[in-house]
Subunit: 204 residues, 2 copies
Amino acid sequence: MPVGRRGETLELAVLGLLHESPMHGYELRKQVDSVLGRSRLLSYGSLYPALKKMLRAGLLAEHTTPTGDGPVTRRQRIVYELTPAGHERFTGLVADVGPAAWEDDSFDVRFAFFARTDMEARLRILEGRRSRLEERLHRVQQQLERTQRQMDRYATELQRHGVESVEREVRWLSDLINAERHDVREPVTDQPPPPAPPPGVQSV
Amino acid sequence: MPVGRRGETLELAVLGLLHESPMHGYELRKQVDSVLGRSRLLSYGSLYPALKKMLRAGLLAEHTTPTGDGPVTRRQRIVYELTPAGHERFTGLVADVGPAAWEDDSFDVRFAFFARTDMEARLRILEGRRSRLEERLHRVQQQLERTQRQMDRYATELQRHGVESVEREVRWLSDLINAERHDVREPVTDQPPPPAPPPGVQSV
DNA sequence: GTTAGCATGTAAGGAGTTACATGATTTT
DNA sequence: AAAATCATGTAACTCCTTACATGCTAAC
């Protein structure tokens, strides 16, 4: 079976962040909110139960901070870290290049941990994501052409803007794919690449 | 009280579409998917219960299509139309300019029915939406500056792209606000393409 | 001394999806 | 005759949010 069905995006985010360093829940929330710049902030009502569940599943280990350590008495915090099983799980998840990794929900998290993903998997995920978006683009573009005349200017404008956003997204992915293929090490510059037509890359 | 809290976006979409013409459920789904070009398609498991609920609430009336009408026997379809109460509800919803109308969820639907919304409400909603996005922008930009050095290039790139997307969205809203203010009749066009750079791959 | 931020949790409920169930009609 | 599309619905489940509950610590 593919590693998992759904809603493992929070799990992956937690695993990925704890992979870098142990943390307690409150800090974890801030990091999740930061790494996945989503519109809504993750609520504790989601996070803490998820942590408990992962504890039970043996992916995490908890240990409380010593209270009377220094002169400053901080509140007892519960610091989580990955178990070996948690490491394995993380490795398994980032290696999953199936359609689940291209979904709107998961893609961002996957991308955030691309540094821990090997290049082949990165390419597959980027390309999968791109073709998913291209399908969507075709659907919406055709719809726009078909229905444009019977829609008012606001509805039309909304669709036009939607199309442009997806086009932008596709371009972004294409750039990333090119960068992966050429393994460009140079920092982000506006150096135009050599005028030779890049092989196999369709212009977007 | 403000008209309602949450999740009235499907309700608004249905009311808005039926406001234009009566429809049966299957057709309604396609229209909802079309008008709100969301990533996932609306499932019948959401739509039909919602319709039943609105029926019970007296917002909709149903009538089945006559079967033996013409030579062609189409399947019985249930056509929904707005009741007077439904019309009122729709009018109430589009007149609501509170924060709920600026949320990610609702904004698109509100915008889609801007033709049925008076200009003052349109301006308030556009401006509210813009300041919401600007807040988000500041948050994320500051975060990007703070954490940039301790993040790998993928995490950084993700945030950079996120920032750019929001900036784009803000510009779009600003254009719309200007158009409203000047009551420009011309459609909102992209700035005339400067002849300068070839539409090649931007650096990543 | 009071507000703001740190820190952890639970209970109830909302909004949606998937999978299931059924059957007619149209196209290939 | 099979496959695709039209058409309507229900049950179970998932993921998430809001609201509640509790208490410590830092800053004003």
